[in-house]
């Protein structure tokens, strides 16, 4: 660490000297906004983010800001944004579609409530007591219509305050082989495209090939019901492990491993388990297993799932197939965020493992079974490290799949995947984040391929750090929103395969989406107007200055 601290201390000395001498010259120079570093991921991993932020940097420069594009790999970017919340100014970010996010609670609450500003998802540092109240209220408002009013209001506030600089909801385009699968045996899930659980159990092989072979750019890191490790990993979990409820294709929680889910009161819900379910090793699935699965995250050993069971005060077993969950307080999203999220794990296997964990410093995430046992519609067959994961259909499942295998191959070369879907090495192109018009082209040339495009539940946005001026000023944020030309981003960056975004709630969630949001898109002219009205000025060199009386207090991020 020595050379690092040497540099730090010499910088400190320089800074001290400059401040002392500069203090004498208290001039207009202090009102000049510091160089702003616009952080983006590299072009290879996130071409859309890179291009969008390059464009924004150019536009900010037009406004008189010394904006500089800074490319950092994903890990460094998330490190900065997440762990150094007082250092970054503006960064590209995105929220991905996950079935649990079909309920608005996660986005509305976790992202913007003041309680999560320190180390939670509110990394932008947005604090608004009015918003807090609404976010808290919607959590406990069980009546859908009442709740809807609150959610609409919340979205309005987010736009008024220009909290995020939203860009687009991308379109998810997925191609599959119609020589192998019956067309329309795929299921389009709200905001998720056809790459989802329902497709996997419904897709119908009509030829000789009975396996579904899909691709992923990332490898699987772990197969562990108590670990949230990666996007691809979650595809595998959804198939191997069952849950009490699942998010339906329409985006609402419906009973799954549970025969019925009955609310006895605002804080008590009775679960009746389906009869005859078995684990992949043959043992029966009972209420004991369910209780264990929900109580395990309450111990210290499962940090990632703890928040989803926090609201449960106790799980009561009534009989072999019946349980009652007692909650500490009402939670409107309980079904989506907890019952549809917690993986059911066999107590006879994990019980002893957890006992053992008590004696060791590691937690449950460090455990990797050789053959993970679940009760889902697919069972584990093979895991070729860094190459593929193979699952066999579990014929005894109540919703047994029609394919006999589910195979995900890790292909790092995106261009290869285009070749592979054509030559049959893949029959379901699940991950393709390249140029979608190319995909369309491919499909039109190949009669055996079919493409389904859906608007993503997730969205891309430009994160602005509310902790650092001028981003703490809503007028400044609004100006940035005004110059972020969404039409341009949709056309140039996404080649038309995206939809402008103005809310954390996607158009796919018709019930919750506020359609009447006014999103400023007036370009440089409107931006300058917002700034003038808020007191900003420009000096004779065209540089943007803080309103009079305000000086630059922060140092550049880099």
């Amino acid at each position: 660490m020595s050379w690092k601290s040497k540099i730090a201390s010499s910088l400190l000395i320089c800074l001290l000297f400059l401040t002392l001498s500069g203090g004498v010259i208290a001039s207009q120079g202090d009102r000049v906004i510091r160089p702003i570093y616009v952080i983006t991921r590299p072009q290879s991993s996130a071409p859309d983010e890179y291009e969008t932020l390059s464009y924004l940097t150019a536009m900010m420069t037009e406004l008189g800001i010394d904006a500089r594009l800074r490319v950092v790999p994903w890990e460094q970017q998330s490190d900065l944004v997440w762990f150094e919340r007082d250092r970054w100014d503006i960064a590209g970010w995105q929220m991905t579609a996950r079935p649990e996010r079909l309920d608005p609670d996660e986005f509305i609450y976790n992202l913007f409530h003041s309680s999560t500003t320190v180390d939670g998802y509110n990394f932008i540092g947005y604090v608004n007591p009015k918003y807090d109240a609404i976010a808290e209220a919607q959590r406990v408002t069980v009546d859908p219509e009442e709740r809807r009013e609150l959610i609409l209001k919340a979205q309005e506030i987010l736009v008024e305050d220009a909290v995020y600089d939203f860009t687009v909801h991308p379109m998810i385009s997925i191609v599959y082989n119609t020589d192998v699968f019956a067309e329309d045996s795929v299921v389009d899930m709200a905001g998720m495209g056809i790459r989802n659980f329902w497709t996997y159990i419904n897709i119908d092989p009509i030829g000789d090939q009975k396996a579904i072979i899909l691709n992923s750019g990332e490898t699987v890191q772990a197969i562990n019901p108590f670990y949230i490790s990666g996007t691809v990993d979650s595809w595998v979990y959804e198939l191997i492990y069952d849950r009490l409820m699942r998010m339906s294709p329409e985006g609402l929680p419906e009973p799954w491993a549970a025969e019925s889910v009955e609310w006895l009161s605002d804080t008590e819900v009775q679960i009746l388990l389906r009869d005859g379910m078995k684990w992949h090793d043959g043992e029966p699935v009972t209420a004991k297993d369910v209780k264990f699965s929900f109580e395990a995250p309450m111990t210290g050993e499962v940090p990632m799932y703890k928040p989803f069971v926090d609201v449960i005060s106790r799980v009561e077993i009534v009989d072999d197939l019946t349980l009652v969950f007692h909650l500490k307080r009402p939670w409107a999203a309980f079904e989506a965020a907890s019952l549809a999220k917690i993986n059911l794990a066999p107590e006879h296997i994990w019980g002893p493992l957890f006992e053992d964990l008590k004696t060791r410093p590691e937690n449950a995430e460090s455990i990797q079974e050789d053959v993970p046992i679940g009760s889902g519609p697919f069972k584990f067959a093979d895991w070729k490290f860094a190459e593929e994961v193979v699952l066999d259909a579990y014929a005894d499942h109540f919703a047994a799949p029609k394919v006999d295998k589910w195979i995900v191959r890790f292909v790092t070369n995106m261009e290869s995947t285009l070749g592979m879907i054509q030559n049959g090495e893949l029959n379901f192109l699940a991950s393709y984040s390249g140029d979608a018009s190319l995909l369309e082209n491919l499909v039109s040339r190949n009669p055996m391929l079919s493409m389904v495009s859906s608007v993503d539940l997730g969205y891309r946005f430009i994160a602005l750090n509310h902790n650092r001026a001028p981003f703490s000023d809503p007028a400044f944020r609004k100006a940035l929103v005004a110059i972020t030309d969404q039409e341009f981003v949709v056309e140039a960056v996404w080649k038309g395969y995206a939809v402008p975004a103005n809310s954390v709630i996607a158009p796919a969630l018709e019930f919750w989406k506020n359609d009447e949001l006014k999103w400023p898109q007036g370009g440089l002219e409107q931006a300058r107007q917002f700034l003038k009205e808020a007191g900003y000025e420009w000096d004779n060199k065209g540089r943007l200055l803080y309103p009079s009386g305000q000086v630059e207090e922060h140092t550049p991020s880099f």
Partner: protein, 286 residues
């Protein structure tokens, strides 16, 4: 010391070296006069009739077509000569200077100094090259200078070994012995007798290093660790890869940068080919 005439003679005699030199000169000229030759700014998203010209095939206005984001490939190709030559020559300089000094000091003074420097060289040999460059670039940030630095930290190793071998064999020669016996100072022996004999070897490895440096920069850019502000040929290939150029059949995008890299690297090899007798088995070149 090396005379100008002998260098020119060398180039004139060996056809390979001549061709290599011509290629270098051509690229240097292109790099110097890039703003005059290139029709557009390499970063500019060109518009035709108000719309951005994405993925255009080669035509009158765009000699090599345009990229996925509407940038002129020909202009990028021209400007790409700059980072290529910068990286190449800077790395080569480092390699030559550091490698020669280490080899010279090690071979001439022997003993503990030799041992120490050779251990250092062993360490440099033991570290896998491409991964190390990537680690350092992730550490220091994706700038062209960091790539050069990372390469320079390891690339001198071959030169050092080879120079040292050569110095050892020169040291044993009669005229050096004679000079030493007659009381000549170290610096005199080094500059008058040893340097002239190792300089050609030094230059040889320097010209090889240009090629290695350019190829490494291309690989690093390809993997996404390159410098987006200076569009090198490696970066162009990365861009093409990331935009699925091959699937689009955009050979006009995929081929030219690769060919340019090939030509410049080959030029370095051609020049070194001329010094055939230097590639001796004893010296274990890369």
């Amino acid at each position: 010391m090396i005379e100008m005439t002998s260098i020119l003679e060398f180039f004139r005699q060996d056809k390979f070296a001549l061709v290599g030199a011509i290629i270098y000169i051509l690229f240097i000229l292109v790099a110097l006069f890039a703003p005059a030759i290139a029709p557009y700014d390499p970063q500019e998203m060109v518009r035709v009739d108000g719309r951005i010209a994405f993925n255009r095939e080669p035509e009158k206005n765009f000699k090599f077509g345009t990229t996925n984001m509407g940038r002129d490939i020909f202009s990028q190709l021209i400007y790409g000569a700059r980072p290529a030559l910068t990286v190449g020559f800077t790395a080569a300089l480092f390699v030559m200077v550091v490698g020669t000094v280490v080899g010279l000091v090690s071979g001439y003074f022997g003993g503990k100094v030799d041992s120490l420097l050779m251990r250092l060289t062993d360490v440099a040999f033991g570290i896998p090259f491409d991964p190390f460059v990537i680690v350092l670039v992730s550490f220091l940030g994706p700038s062209i200078w960091n790539i050069v630095l990372a390469m320079a930290l390891l690339l001198w190793r071959d030169t050092a070994r080879v120079i040292r071998s050569q110095v050892l064999s020169i040291k044993k020669r009669a005229f050096v012995e004679a000079a030493r016996v007659s009381g000549a100072s170290h610096s005199r022996i080094i500059f008058s007798y040893i340097m002239p004999n190792i300089l050609p070897l030094s230059l040889l490895y320097g010209s090889l290093a240009i090629g290695w440096a350019i190829l490494t920069e291309a690989a690093v850019s390809f993997l996404g660790f390159g410098d987006p502000s200076s569009i090198s040929w490696g970066y162009m290939l990365h861009d093409a890869y990331v935009s699925q150029a091959l699937s689009r059949g955009a050979f006009y995008w995929m081929l030219p940068p690769g060919i340019c890299i090939m030509l410049l690297v080959m030029a370095g090899f051609y020049i070194s080919r001329g010094a055939e007798e230097v590639l001796q088995p004893k010296l274990r070149s890369m």
